[in-house]
């Protein structure tokens, strides 16, 4: 399940990077029309899903997307494992 799910997730990343990567969300458009400005309280390492200096390189974006997707898979697995492990100890 983990491998199959991860492969499907990679497929989404590929589609997101190469086919349907352009974002033009409704709320952003309306906010722009009404002069609502975004403020920056945090400087993220990869703003807008791109590697600084390699924003126009789709291979770099693909590698980043796959890497972070893998990180989320492992992180969620660990959190789920910790939650159930603690239950076993307390019961």
């Amino acid at each position: 399940m983990l491998i199959g799910g991860f492969l499907i997730a990679i497929l989404f990343v590929v589609i997101g990077v190469f086919v349907l990567g352009f974002a033009n969300e409704t709320l952003d458009i309306i906010a722009g029309l009404f002069g609502t400005h975004e403020s920056e309280t945090w400087t993220s390492p990869f703003p807008d899903y791109g590697i600084p200096g390699l924003e126009d390189n789709p291979i770099a974006s693909l590698a980043l997307g796959i890497g972070i997707t893998g990180l989320i898979l492992v992180l969620t697995f660990l959190i789920g494992w910790l939650v159930t492990r603690r239950k076993q100890k307390t019961s």
Binding site: F6, V13, L20, T36, T69, G70, I72
Partner: protein
């Protein structure tokens, strides 16, 4: 649907941070009692899939795009509390790593996508299954729940931003356009949710037994 910093008043940010943290505490407490070890791979897989699916910007209407919420898929397979934890992981990565959604507005984003986007779909699906535990109820409840979960999460975001701008015109236009546009993506969300639900029911129905009541009596046509 991710609200960036600067769009909401500080008061609204604080209120939603508190509300979302309370939900999250309860979510960890409940998940501690309900999540089984065999559900962990499903939780991890779906969370990664939803994150990746949110990178896909689907063309909706008039040149605009929207992405799947994913909360309904998580909620109807893992339950709303576990899915709130999954959505938190996704939103934390999106906000802190990709600047997709703000830090101050994180509470509001978590409330919209993690609470509304999961509890509403789950409640509707449970309602349908309690009325009649059948495959048709599963399809209808799964679809309607996902559709409304997506739509209401978008409407909530529009209301929050509209109230923060204190501009009644913004509120009106925001509500109208978000309702129209997210009705479209809501249909896609509904179809995706039903497909995932039926797939899991077909290959691993045991994973849904703790999440969906009376699921054992559903003839899923295996």
């Amino acid at each position: 649907m991710h609200i960036p910093d600067g769009w909401l008043t500080l008061l609204m940010c604080i209120v939603f941070w508190i509300i979302s943290l309370l939900f999250l505490v309860v979510a960890f407490w409940r998940t501690n009692r309900t999540l089984t070890e065999k559900q962990i791979p499903l939780m991890a897989t779906l969370t990664a899939m939803i994150f990746a699916a949110q990178m896909v910007n689907i063309p909706v209407l008039f040149g605009t795009t929207a992405h799947l919420l994913g909360g309904p898929i998580l909620a109807t397979t893992l339950g709303p509390f576990t899915s709130l934890i999954s959505m938190t992981i996704i939103l934390v990565i999106q906000a802190f790593v990709f600047q997709d959604g703000g830090i101050l507005t994180f509470g509001a984003n978590l409330f919209n996508m993690g609470v509304i986007g999961t509890f509403i779909p789950y409640a509707i699906l449970i309602g349908f299954l309690k009325l009649k535990p059948s495959k048709n109820s599963l399809i209808a409840g799964g679809f309607l729940g996902a559709f409304l979960g997506d739509l209401l999460a978008a409407i909530a975001a529009a209301i929050e931003v509209g109230l923060s701008t204190a501009d009644i015109t913004f509120l009106g236009i925001g509500l109208l356009t978000m309702t129209i546009h997210h009705s479209v993506i809501g249909v896609i969300e509904g179809i995706a949710t039903v497909i995932i639900l039926l797939t899991i029911l077909r290959i691993r129905p045991d994973l849904l037994k703790g999440t969906l009541p009376k699921i054992e009596s559903v003839d899923y046509g295996k």
